[in-house]
Symmetry: D2
Subunit: 351 residues, 4 copies
């Protein structure tokens, strides 16, 4: 049943496969009169592209975003905005073996069972390629948030076991992981290279912050802001965990340690991550996502074929060693979409 839409007041519907015509998104609920043009997508789309030195994938995706609808004379009209990103140069030959063997850690097996039939070339619908559409939609959300001075930033705090410790946000955009610890980023790079040489892959932890988020966003008791953020982030294929503010660390604290005391003008601390009772409290929103290692590795793996017989799988081609940093703009996009959706929803009821 229809599960490809997200959001209520600001609703995105993605479509497309990794080896079909392309991927895209319909953005419904964007207000009129917002300037938007193809060039606005370049930076975000570029950050999602493969291309991190030796560990990139062979597909040089030139992800041009074609605006199919919803714009007139350079401005949004209030009608649905459709964004299409054509696939280019995809070579489906190298995927032939995948018509028979399920790749461990990927959706091959479950898609085959659920749909009986699926585009096995690079994952088809469940390829990370789909996230290009989310990033494109996130650009529309960004154009709505910018005049409100609300910004969303994702960065890496752990990769392959290397943790960021001495946080300095000024340094984040000087390394490919947007890691706010220059020393850690150096070690991440080495760890990544080593894993790539071994034919293996790495996971990590990313953090997202929403600056200047106004208070009052979130519609309890189910469409709480943190609940919708959790869904948005967990709907990204590589994510296996989400935490808000202190998150799992809060589980080990006492109430006297975890409560954020109120002081005139705000809060003394922010272990809540900017959300109380499911509603933004005006403080910075922070969340973390656990990113699993990319399932595509070059080491031989046990698997089964479509008939259920045991088999050995050894993948060929070139893949990213980690979903980080490519996943960062995807995380930003999903968080922006949630913030915009709730910003509009809150308008109808806030005092």
């Amino acid at each position: 049943m229809a599960g490809n839409s997200f959001g209520e007041a600001f609703r995105v519907t993605t479509f497309g496969e990794s080896h079909g015509e392309g991927v895209g998104v319909v953005v419904d609920g964007c207000p009129p009169q917002i300037p938007l043009k193809s060039e606005d997508f370049a930076i975000d789309m570029g950050r999602r592209r493969p291309g991190m030195g030796s560990f990139d994938t062979p597909r040089k995706e030139k992800d041009h975003v074609e605006v199919l609808s919803g714009i007139f004379e350079g401005l949004t009209t209030g009608a649905p905005i459709t964004l299409l990103i054509r696939n280019k140069g995809a070579n489906s030959k190298s995927y032939e073996v995948l018509a028979q063997l399920f790749r461990p850690g990927h959706g091959d097996y479950t898609y085959f069972r659920k749909y009986g039939h699926f585009d096995y070339r690079g994952g088809g619908r469940y390829s990370a390629r789909e996230t290009a559409a989310r990033v494109a939609a996130g650009v529309v959300a960004r154009k709505i948030l910018e005049p409100l001075d609300i910004s969303v930033t994702a960065y890496t705090v752990e990769l392959g076991g290397v943790k960021a410790k001495n946080i300095n946000f000024d340094s984040a955009d000087k390394n490919p992981f947007y890691c706010p610890d220059p020393d850690a980023s150096e070690r991440m790079l080495k760890t990544l290279s080593k894993a790539g040489e071994e034919g293996d892959s790495l996971g990590g932890i990313t953090e997202v912050r929403v600056r200047n988020c106004p208070w009052g966003l979130g519609e309890p008791v189910f469409d709480k802001l943190d609940a919708d953020l959790a869904k948005a982030v967990m709907s990204i294929g590589a994510v296996k965990g989400v935490e808000i503010g202190a998150g799992f660390e809060a589980a080990g604290l006492k109430g006297s340690e975890n409560n954020d005391p109120l002081v005139p003008g705000g809060f003394k601390s922010n272990r809540a991550g900017g959300i109380l009772g499911g509603i933004s409290n005006g403080d910075e929103i922070s969340l973390r996502a656990a990113i699993k290692p990319i399932p595509s590795i070059f080491l031989e793996q046990d698997t089964i074929d479509r008939n259920g017989n045991a088999a050995k799988l050894k993948l060929k081609g070139r893949f990213d060693v980690s979903a980080i940093p490519r996943i960062l703009p995807v995380l930003e996009a999903m968080v922006r979409i949630v913030i915009v959706d709730h910003y509009f929803r809150a308008r109808t009821k806030n005092a």
Copy 2:
């Protein structure tokens, strides 16, 4: 904007406040001809009640569930089922101070900002009392899952820093925390008593497992099973983090360690937590939730009043020291609701 419903094919809408007439839920989408009576709710409601030795709250909630609609001759009819749990013996006098001072860690401040007006007595709508309605709805879900032999169980794996290590599920129902490690449960009890004596509170980590979940549940790319589970669990007030399968641990693994190899008949391991590509794979589903310490503590706290002036708050009354174990049936209820919802949704499209 309307945010009090959850689910598409099986939709629950909760209502009610801690100190109003009661709390309740409308369950829409329940199939007809399922036996259901008031007595079916007793066990689950009882588990949600306060009453764990010295650390219970004074309200002896006798949570009788009144079935207002949807049943005829002992069977569901396919019409909405409405369940009402009246509030009893609530003493709102002790809450008068809260009309002026915001309790740190609670939704007081955000509700006041968002709605300009709120039932401050015990939290009103954002009281944990609301979860009684979720538990009642979860019983309806359980009645649907039982004939399918699908079961959902929540238990404690960490409390106040004490971690379960030697897992033996047979022992879980012999301690109040449903902790599957008898030694750990003893220490949890002591830690809890000590924190209670200090006027402080504790958090912890709970785990939920779905046994016999059929493959094919989940509607990518947004209504993935893990995404909806994350939302369902994060929508519970005390939850600050959710992880599926290996979760945050997966972030530190390599692909060769994290991938679950396929073998004839299933999977060799289950770090995925039973979900691949957002779709259940037939293996056991497992997730963990981080539970923050209860914000209501007896130690003096800094806060502000409605006018924004600094103030000191010292709560009176008696409160639970931890949301664990009362939160366990709530977690089970929410997970059951997700499973039933997706079970029905999958019927429309699965091969």
Copy 3:
């Protein structure tokens, strides 16, 4: 699958049966700080009551609306408002024959086929009794519209073939049908009495007008204002047709006759019924609904029993001769709900 909710930003979920505990509604999305008390419901509920002289039903429904949630200190809180109307004095004995025989024109047959099991006493879920919950929800909508000076009025323009011709709205509230033609209302009364004496029933046509509806309501291309009005009105059991403005008459006009010319300040005519392109144009909204004759008649009818065998049915008891005028407050309620829902939805996008 869940079909008992209506509206997006302002969402009502009704529940209950004619012979169970009662009927009710959860209203989700009502803004905070609106004064609301049990007494506010009396007038609308009274208008929906049976009791029009000789043609009333025996059930003297004293429809007291119990407010179960969402109110604090006399004001709405922004939380869901739950309204419960208990059933009283319902005698289910007279319905025993209906456990076997399907009443022509009622939902007996389709409910039996669809659900395999249903509350046959007075229709259960599909009884007109359910509309009491809609009327109660409509009162909440009215409290939102009143400060905006938007009013919704339903009245009768045809009953049993008698048509209102000389329209004088001042006279409408002086007859039980709210018919704006005093002469016609007299003849309606006679026609109704005669049909009642014959054991038969009558249909008619009602009109609804929305005064002071602001321009800009309606979300094309599917959630157009007229589309949602059509659904809202057609979802009332007795309604078999809906038309907006000139409606079916427009089918016989030429473009030069049907177009409403624009003039400074508005429109020269209003054949559009206040809606252009699915969006309110600031003019008065008008729609008409065709009301079928009540299927419960005292004349002998052909039918079948649960086993599919031919049978004769002769109903006993006392029924209304026409759904008019009781349906008028139901129509008003549904139209108000649509207007409020779209008023809130429009806030998120209008220029």
Copy 4:
């Protein structure tokens, strides 16, 4: 707020404008393994094209449907199906006057007020061109209904005041209006020509029948089958009224005349139009829609400009004289979409 999607289990989201890149639709919820190719769209798209002798529009739309997603090896995959119909040869110069003057009867005025900014060229989003996307989605629905032997047919019963009387369905596809009365169709053609020569336009009444619709479709009390049909049909721009079965005629009947007696195997008559209590009863579903005359006429009309000043408007170019017959495939498409959506929804709950 997002209003461009329709359906729950089978959900279509249209996008696009008359003079932008094109129009299209995302179909979410289509089951896998259904054969679908570009050629499948040709017949339905052809019927929607302008081209009825002398009264066609100048745009020779060659409406090729490009399938952008959701198909693999000629079969649907269960992923969203995206269909794109590029605009061709649109000359936007002739629309320049419309940047200043509002066309009576069109959405110009309301779009301008609501969005402050709109694509005035041919109506942009609210052009009838958008219905091409609906027709394309309706083809997907048809491919689902065909194996179930469910068929949906629309035809003309009145045009420019000429009514079909001697119904003979075999003759319907022999005239451009799909009018089942050969004599009437001749007169319709003449009436249409005459109106076209006068620079005026015509409305009419169309009927839609669903053959072999299974019992049990419809989800009371709001998502009744007739309620959703009413919304679907009323969401088409030219439609001003909808009636089910006997419709407005039922308003003048007595209960003894309007009730359809049950007989072994079905119903003796079908004034209900195949729906009882909001649920399909297994009989043929029939509905009628009132089609207003096309607002674009060549006669001079009073209007205002964007500043609110009085003006005269005389349209140039060539337009259809009536939305009939081009609206017939659009009606079929919307009705099919409703049937498929409810077919899937019913699977989750029917006994």
